[in-house]
Symmetry: C2
Subunit: 546 residues, 2 copies
């Protein structure tokens, strides 16, 4: 022990050599280093970094005025407008925890979140006034303070209560004195996962993790300060994968986007020379579709991150044709957004397109600053062999894993069993160490005792040139127990028949894995780009029994 003391004697932490890691440090620096550069652009309004920082300080001052402090929950129900960006800094500046609510939730779900999170204050856009009013009726005890954000672009909707965001900000000091958290393990954000059954779980993240994943985005995507980022990804989804903080770290520019609209996206890509954006496969697919009708092609380089269990090959292919550089990432709310990335190896560029798209469609390797991703047998916690066949559960370990689930000791304990965060996603590991998701644990189809990966079937269905999107679920079957059924969304104008598509599947996979039924139509997607298989299964059983 004398040896240890040698390098630790009178070499303790002090105010000069230790501060808490927090993304708040990023915006403080951006405000001086990139003072006059555009931080946030929304329609015809541009805020510089100096101004955005000032507005965040003003928001913090407003919150302090309402006695919001360390450990209080501030909820926001906002689209991707400047106030949403500002909340990512203003709320933690007073030590409060930012709870971003999915704007598509119903009143009951919102009320559950208000109650469970003990929301003290809500920032809301008037578009959601009706549903919020209903939710407020269900709140137990003291109702949250409501601040309305009036967006002249939207214009409709009615305010709730008397407080208006801009009016409150206007009378606050731009140089409000805030402080870094005393402890970098303090909560910075709360995000409720949708969950297929039961109540949603509140994922608690901390300043240290937010700081590190913001950096990890920089490393993963080689971001420089000239980045112009378009907000196609909702900031309520894992805090926009930590990109609000990443953009402050590099001094990049945010282009706000109230609604995901393909025409508007194409307009903004050109107008602001957007360099980067993120989204679920459906967002990229929309961009590719709308590209066809645009009068001019996009001349500058655009990079996108695409997230999804199995990004349809057709989307990757169409985006490649468009000249967009897509990188595939994977993660969960519990990992602050992206936690793996499909790093492109130098020699992939020369491979045949089919092979290249397959390589690029995998979940890949750990995100730069995530300590470790692995695929383990969920019972024994032994790693699966790198054979591309043996299925295990994806698990993470590192600083970019949540603190746990709020007020849910049982779920937290279960999630961290054995010193790993259990994702519930099943995957194989290829010989090169790259991970490929095969399925969600609960989405496996068990047919005649054989496990069928619904994602594997979807992957094949989606290879058909006329298929835009497919979702495969289990359908009950007297003989086999379960068989695969596919919901299929066809390309515009396609007249593909059920029989022809089933034949295509049988030609390309083991017969027992081919869907026995095809339901054509538009597939409902959550705003976070996920397909709710729970809903599809219900729809299917209603059809079957009906």
């Amino acid at each position: 022990m004398t040896e240890l003391c040698f390098f630790n004697q009178v070499l303790e932490k002090n105010a000069a050599n230790h501060v808490s890691l927090s993304p708040l440090s990023f915006i403080k620096r951006a405000a001086t280093v990139y003072a006059d550069r555009a931080a946030v652009i929304y329609e015809d309004k541009t805020y510089t970094w100096h101004q955005t920082y000032g507005r965040c300080c003003q928001l913090a001052s407003v919150l302090k005025g309402f006695s919001i402090s360390r450990g209080d929950t501030v909820s926001v129900m906002l689209p991707n407008i400047p106030a949403m960006y500002e909340a990512h800094f203003g709320v933690p500046m007073v030590g409060a925890v930012l709870n971003t609510i999915n704007t598509r939730l119903d009143a009951e779900a919102i009320a559950f979140i208000f109650n469970h999170s003990r929301t003290r204050l809500l920032l809301m856009d008037s578009e959601y006034a009706d549903v919020i009013e209903k939710a407020l009726l269900l709140v137990e005890g003291t109702k949250p303070i409501i601040i309305n954000v009036s967006d002249p672009i939207y214009g409709q909707g009615k305010p709730i209560g008397d407080f208006e965001y801009e009016a409150l900000l206007a009378i606050q000091p731009e140089n409000f004195k805030w402080e870094l958290p005393v402890d970098e393990w303090d909560a910075i954000a709360l995000g409720y996962t949708s969950g297929t059954t039961g109540n949603p779980k509140g994922v608690v993240t901390h300043h240290r993790g937010a700081y590190l994943n913001a950096m990890s985005n920089v490393l993963s995507w080689n971001l420089a300060s000239n980045v112009v980022y378009l907000w196609t990804l909702p900031m309520f989804h894992c805090n926009g994968w930590c990109f609000p903080w990443t953009l402050a770290a590099i001094g990049g520019t945010s282009i706000c986007l109230r609604r995901v609209d393909a025409e508007q996206i194409h307009h903004l890509l050109r107008k602001h020379h957007v360099s980067h954006y993120c989204g679920a496969p459906i967002v990229h697919s929309m961009i590719a579709d709308a590209a066809i009708t645009q009068p001019t092609p996009i001349e500058h380089k655009v990079s996108g991150l695409i997230a999804g269990a199995a990004p349809p090959t057709s989307v990757l292919e169409r985006m490649e044709r468009l000249g967009f550089e897509l990188t595939h990432v994977y993660g969960l709310t519990e990992t602050y957004g992206p936690a793996t990335v499909c790093v492109k190896q130098d020699d992939w560029a020369e491979r045949p397109q089919k092979e290249r798209l397959e390589l690029n469609g995998r979940q890949g390797v750990s995100y730069p600053l995530q300590e470790e991703v692995t695929v383990l047998d969920p019972d024994t916690l032994i790693p699966v062999p790198f054979d591309g066949k043996t299925i295990g559960e994806i698990m993470f370990r590192g600083n970019i894993v949540m603190k746990g689930y709020l007020r849910n000791e049982a779920a937290t304990k279960e999630a961290f069993e054995g010193g790993w965060f259990h994702t519930g996603d099943l995957a194989v590991v290829h010989a090169d160490g790259y991970i490929k998701i095969t399925d969600r644990s609960k989405d496996v189809i068990i047919s005649g005792g054989e496990n069928i990966s619904s994602l594997e079937v979807e992957d094949i269905v989606q290879r058909h040139p006329e298929v835009e999107l497919a979702a495969v679920v289990a359908m009950s079957d007297e003989k086999w127990g379960e068989v695969p059924a596919a919901f299929v969304q066809l390309s515009l104008g396609s007249e593909l028949s059920e029989e022809a598509l089933i034949d295509f599947c049988r030609e390309n996979m083991s017969h027992f894995k081919a869907p026995k039924k095809i339901i054509f139509g538009s597939i409902p997607i959550t705003l976070t780009g996920k397909i709710q298989k729970f809903g599809l299964r219900q729809l299917l059983s209603a059809k079957e029994s009906g």
Copy 2:
């Protein structure tokens, strides 16, 4: 307090969501993600990331075999060869502290370091065998274990003792199991500052800071994984500004360089398409000089970091002409290398060259992940106004500041007085918030009661087109107390006279600031690119009295 508990209840750190920040995580990831990419190239030898990681593990295994463990000091006296790179990972892998010794030190200074650091093991290049043998005679108590690194490129020199690096590595497992430090505040490295008088001070740095400054380099320079980095900067200088760890984080390639030789640098720049390098002004100056005689110009983009109190404008200008992109940084061993950077604002590119070079020659703003740099009145700790005139002391605060000085409580306490790290460097702050060094505290010339900044005088002297380098020191004077005297190194072939140069100075600055004496000749530079003004003052007083 109930509120605090709310977000901290059963949300403690555990093995799944918390690990120590350490640059060792970077190489572990590089070994799998960039397995087959070149990590280290030296002459005709290339090691991939898989191989380099294996060699670092083998080194760790060697050290464990010698019972080196947490808190032990391992010293290295090596040029920039692969073993030096490997030591940056292998040594901390067993929890030991890496002490890099300046290879130009004499036996007494080396012996002091061995004794003060309680060095248990030394990795040495046989080039330094003579001086190390002498130093070992002065070691009190148990002598360190010596491991010789035989470099066939050097070939001369005799080994000390029986242990040879490659032979030891060869019999160790490449998959040696190492562990991250239990505490990220554990020491990772020790570096002795030269100091103008008295014994050197041992700067202790930690894993957390090394991790963060490695990231900070990525942000500051927008580094991507295709970086090819030439080792013109000695790794014994602040651990090569943390670049060994930065390169592992991005999977970049290190080109080793045993000796700073302009011809060899030009050869390697072309051969390996080097994209990045770092160095003191003299290194860049050498490259510019040698460019004239090269048969072909360099066609690809090369970026350099230049560090120095006042980089000569002529160097910046010549490098600009060569097409190299130089960025100015400033820092100290106590801040893990670079701690400020002169971030180029968008509109600078269009400014007239003179103005642009002046803007680029400033110390600038805080390095991306350094919390804060400021210029304070050293007595009151009140910030100086942003007027470009008022002089104060540069001070830092943040996670990239040393733990303190080893076994030197008094110096540590003094350095951290008032919650800031005191650099001893004097500076002004310009209206845009950019810092510009005026002088080292101890280098101020006090003439007739007026303070004269030696750097300000140097800056003017160096503007003369025939001046390559200048160093200004105080010369005692009966009338004025002190007056400036300038040591001046002229460009090749120049026949500039003392009188003509003094006239030039008087035309360009207040007369009382102009040097009263010029001493022409080559200016001795330390290997870390610093001018030892202490030595120059001694030389001057010897001349005066002689």
